[in-house]
């Protein structure tokens, strides 16, 4: 039995793979083709953006402990992305989100040949590896990394002055602590750096998250880890709506990014560090290969033929009336009361899409949807069953002249007569989005 397993067992976790599946597999759509460029400021993607800006385009990258695929965005840079994780389900989720190759394996026995990757990356993984196993994992990283390769890590840390060590915790304290995130290998920032120093000739690190945290992370650190934030500030965060939380996270992410851009040295956070190591001299710690142009395109498009699907098309612009894509399944976007979608087209004869809603009480009161094209009323219909409906809207000839697209750009607007909140009372998700319908497979015909 490994030391890692012993600590997990002491914490009452018998199946590590299952534990990580329940903790880290989500229905979040991380597929790079659905990524909105504005989300580069979102605090949730701060770590991803650090890696994104430090990885060379078209390089080969191994994501250790890939989870559901937080680094899927690297596909925008044409990277060959491989993911490895303990959990089969995480591996499948990462594959679904666009990883080229994924496999389930232990991190101290990687199923790859020597010198296979330009970069080996991990985010929030090494804090889950027990102390006795860390050297084995680092040895594997060094083995699979090319001689001139770079390894990048976002690592959860501890501050022994502020927190008890594992040995000082009672069985119940340990169970509660490990159960939160599965941290069985938290070390001090300098200890991580010293450990990497034994495997790589060059190591650099920066403490992060001392200032900026997402609203969710603030609450988690306070409520679950007992970090002392001001009570009225926490109350304020608890009261934020979905949109307000997003605004907060965007502001935090923006500041986080500026700290990186100016390479401002932060004090020890006791929470997290970014670490870069290699056997060749390192380039700049931040933005070594910064090129964000690809964030503004959804990647290679199939181009415009007779039929085009707008869901992932680079020239289709979904406005703020749409929420981020969700895996229902299929992958679809929920909208609020009103949403717009702009797209260029030489001509337009028909629009088709699949629509559904989970709104209750449809039989008593159907949900009415109105469609407009470039401001002109196109059509209306009602949904009175909570299931997928295939819609086809023919653009009538007499409307073609009235639509008058400016510069060949069409704007499809959908208005719903009401919305509902799916999970307003779910304390875990705090999801108070106002939803009407979910839409996918939006195809336009010439």
């Amino acid at each position: 039995m490994s030391a890692n397993e012993k600590l997990y067992e002491r914490a009452g976790i018998t199946d590590e793979g299952d534990f990580y599946r329940t903790k880290f597999v989500s229905e979040e759509v991380l597929d790079a083709r659905y990524f909105s460029a504005l989300s580069r400021f979102d605090m949730r993607f701060a770590r991803t953006m650090w890696v994104y800006d430090n990885v060379r385009a078209r390089a080969s990258v191994l994501d250790l402990g890939c989870g559901a695929g937080m680094l899927a965005l690297l596909k925008r840079k044409g990277v060959a992305l491989t993911g490895v994780d303990l959990s089969d389900e995480c591996v499948r989720a990462a594959r679904r989100n666009g990883y080229d190759v994924t496999c389930a394996a232990r991190l101290d026995a990687l199923p790859f040949g020597d010198a296979s990757f330009d970069y080996v990356v991990s985010l929030d993984v090494l804090g889950h590896v027990a102390f006795e196993e860390k050297d084995g994992v680092l040895g594997e990283i060094r083995r699979v990394l090319r001689p001139d390769g770079v390894t990048l890590h976002g690592i959860e840390c501890t501050d022994r002055l502020a927190r008890k060590s594992y040995d000082e915790m009672s069985a119940e304290e340990l169970r509660r602590f490990v159960e939160i995130d599965g941290h069985v290998g938290l070390e001090e920032e300098a200890e991580h750096a010293e450990r990497f120093g034994r495997f790589f000739a060059y190591t650099e690190w920066r403490p992060r998250y001392a200032l900026c945290l997402s609203s969710e992370e603030f609450l988690k650190q306070a409520e679950r880890y007992g970090l002392p934030f001001e009570a009225d500030f926490l109350d304020y965060l608890r009261g934020l709506s979905f949109k307000e939380r997003r605004a907060f996270d965007m502001a935090m992410g923006y500041v986080f990014g500026k700290i990186s851009d100016h390479d401002i040295r932060l004090p020890k956070s006791g929470l997290y560090l970014f670490l870069k190591a290699s056997n060749v001299p390192l380039g700049p710690f931040y933005n070594e290969h910064r090129d964000r142009n690809a964030l503004f395109e959804a990647g290679a498009d199939a181009g415009w033929s007779e039929t085009i699907c707008l869901d992932r098309h680079s020239q289709a612009v979904f406005d703020d009336g749409w929420y981020e894509a969700n895996l229902l399944p299929p992958v679809a976007r929920w909208m609020g009361e009103r949403s717009r979608l702009r797209f260029p087209a030489a001509s337009l004869s028909k629009i088709r899409m699949d629509v559904t809603t989970h709104m209750p009480g449809l039989e008593e009161r159907p949900l009415a949807l109105d469609f407009f094209l470039n401001g002109q009323p196109l059509n209306s219909f009602s949904i009175f069953r909570p299931e997928w409906i295939e819609l086809e809207i023919i653009i009538p000839g007499n409307l073609q002249s009235a639509i008058n697209p400016v510069d060949g750009v069409y704007e499809l607007e959908i208005r719903a007569n009401r919305t509902w909140q799916a999970r307003p009372l779910d304390a875990e998700n705090r999801d108070d989005r106002e939803l009407s319908v979910a839409v996918c497979n939006i195809e336009v015909y010439r």
Binding site: V331, F384, R385, W388
Partner: protein, 177 residues
């Protein structure tokens, strides 16, 4: 009939009426239309669910003798008699009851499968679109590779020609020497 039976029958009627109302064409105007196949399938499913309410209630029941005065000693007598009849005829009807139970269960499963079909259709549609997009991208990559190959081939030809020229020059310089 007991209150529960009356309630169950009313529920059945409600389900039927609802299924029939669903069978009406949906409110739509002009040229917006849901696919007719999916509408028919949805109506069939609504009717199936309405019928399931009947099979759910009646698969193992003996019908009531009367539809009134189902209280007091007459009702108790009827129930007692039916229980005796049930015991006495068990050898004869048990296969029919098994069959009814199996049909009821199979119809429930069928309804569940049918209910998941629209979602599966949309997932398949999404997969089809993604595959056709990938096919176009692959075709584009293939064409780019073919062009690159042509370039390499023509460069190779140039190199061969250069090599031949060099050979010729070397040969003539050797002869001149």
């Amino acid at each position: 009939m007991s209150d529960a039976d009356v309630e169950a029958t009313l529920q059945e009627i409600r389900e039927r009426v609802r299924a029939e109302s669903l069978a009406q064409p949906p409110h739509s105007a002009g040229n917006v239309s849901a696919s007719s196949h999916s509408i028919q399938a949805a109506h069939a499913l609504a009717r199936l669910k309405a019928n399931l309410a009947t099979t759910e209630r009646a698969w193992s029941k003996i019908p009531p003798v009367t539809s009134f005065h189902r209280r007091g000693w007459t009702a108790r007598l009827e129930v007692w008699l039916k229980r005796q009849i049930k015991r006495a005829t068990h050898w004869y009807v048990f296969e029919q009851v098994n069959f009814n139970a199996a049909v009821n269960s199979a119809l429930h499963d069928t309804a569940a499968i049918l209910e998941s079909l629209p979602e599966q259709r949309v997932c398949l549609k999404q997969l089809t679109i993604e595959m056709s997009e990938q096919a176009i991208l692959l075709d584009r990559t293939r064409r780019a590779l073919e062009l690159r190959l042509e370039e390499v081939a023509s460069r190779l030809e140039e190199l061969h020609a250069l090599r031949a020229e060099i050979e010729l020059l070397r040969h003539s310089s050797e002869q001149a020497r």
